[in-house]
Amino acid sequence: MRNNVLRILYPCIGAAIILLAWHYYIILFKVSVVVLPSPWAVAVAIFSYAHILLTESWITFLECIYGFMLAMCIGIPIAVIMTYSRVLNSMFYPLLVASQSIPKVALAPILLVWFGTGIESKLAMVFVIAFFPIVVDTATGLRTTSPELLELARSLQSSRLQTFFKIQLPSALPFMFSGAKIAVTLAVIGAVIGEFIGSNAGLGNLLLTANSQMNTALAWAALVILSVLGMILYAAVVLAERILMPWGHGSEEKH
């Protein structure tokens, strides 16, 4: 009981210290609001621009969700195919890994040319950045299925489909969720990069616009909302994990 209170209390105190330090730094050194708004100014901006922040974050939110879903829907089958086909695996897995040395940000202008300034280019950006952890973790999960369980299935003459759905997929689930947690965090980054490069909507775009108008408080407000968005998406994945894996939470099972 006391421990639980402290667990919440300590981070709050930490946050308060940082906010106070921020606040007094601005007063003490007379920092211009254009350079760094005070925490209070950011809070005010959040409330006075609530409507626009909400509209824009909804757009970014959808970009993240759709892009993330796209990465899941394409990444998981690819991982499955690569675990089942040794040939395809040896043909494409090294390429997939090598492709990760491409700085994804550098792809953004190209994706813009291909997909235009609409939501498509953002989805492509989110997909490109979130795809890899999903494929790798799913493939790892499928490959590390307990050999004894597979032998049990064989001894029962289980069909490949049965083995896949009853043993391999559930075995891989904890890995898939740890991949999804990374992917969803990356998805927000992908969406913002997409909006930075070419867009007229979304939190990333709002941040850029506010910045160019020297409305630093609004830019910071957008930043705060972005991180809240990231937290909400992450929490959603954790929630899905708890619902789909009632037997224990991923990280515990894995390590």
Binding site: E148, E151, A153, R154, S155, L156, Q157, S158, K166, W247
Partner: protein, 270 residues
């Protein structure tokens, strides 16, 4: 199967009965990619009759698991012949129950879900199967734990679930690979009696791998003592102690004599 049905005690089967299965000059070489190949099993031959409990006893790494897996059709033999009911074993076949050294339960399934897994795969997961699952869980002392998840159980309880999973589909042959190896001595003794009970009521043929001399003797109709790798059979012991056996038999002179012989064959008794 009716778990409570009493059946004739095993042991002392008439020798006139034809063997159910045969292993003839079985050998296994593992090709390990780049490194040189491993001769795991050199030459193993034995027969077993229906309802017998045969133990494969031997030092760690001598090839017992390999023989067991060959018998289950899970690993192909490099040479030699394995037969069951007159049919050559080349792949997994119906009517087998396997128990591994570790419980290997599915963490995502409840106890009852784990036990019913074979029935699901075999497409026989009906109300009768569920009733039977409850019945055998009761038998192994896990009544009331049906909906627990494996991680909430102790190692011994998990192994008992694995045992139930192995017998739920009423296999005629049980392949058990050091099923009690990871358990403490007390639980192991309990599990030994449980296994004998299960065999008595199901009449299943059991091939039992172990590296415990006393466990092998206590349980078996016959003990095959394996040499160090590559495996050959160093000694065959017909354990002519009547079933049902209770812990008392462990103190018989006969029992001690079997232990000594097996110990000598294993090179642990001078």
């Amino acid at each position: 199967m009716d778990v409570n049905r009493a059946s004739a005690p095993r042991g002392g089967l008439e020798n006139s009965q034809p063997p159910l299965g045969r292993v003839v000059n079985a050998a296994k070489v593992f090709e390990t990619g780049t490194a040189q190949s491993v001769l795991a099993v050199k030459d193993v031959s034995f027969e077993f009759r229906k309802g017998e409990l045969v133990s494969l006893l031997g030092p760690s790494g001598c090839g017992k698991t390999t023989v067991l897996k060959m018998m289950g059709g899970l690993v192909p033999a490099t040479s030699g012949l394995l037969e069951l009911g007159g049919i050559k074993i080349t792949k997994p076949y119906p009517g087998v129950g396997v128990v591994f050294q570790s419980p290997t339960l599915m963490p995502w399934r409840s106890v009852i879900g784990n036990v019913l897994f074979p029935m699901e795969v075999l497409g026989k997961n009906d109300a009768k199967a569920k009733a039977r699952a409850h019945e055998i869980l009761e038998l192994v002392g896990l009544g009331g734990f049906e909906n627990a998840y494996p991680r909430q159980l102790s190692g011994g309880m998990q192994q008992r679930v694995a045992l139930c999973r192995a017998i739920i589909h009423e296999p005629s042959i049980l392949l058990m690979d050091e099923p009690f190896g990871a358990l403490d001595e007390l639980t192991r003794l309990e599990m030994n009696d449980l296994l004998l009970d299960i065999r008595r009521v199901t009449g299943a043929t059991v091939i039992f791998v172990t590296h415990s001399i006393s466990e092998a003797i206590y349980l078996s109709d016959r003990v095959l003592v394996f040499s160090k790798r590559p495996a050959v059979i160093a000694l065959r012991l017909e354990i002519d102690i009547a079933y049902p056996r209770t812990s008392k038999v462990r103190f018989l002179d006969k029992f001690t004599e079997f232990e000594r012989k097996a110990g000598v064959a294993l090179g642990v008794v001078k």
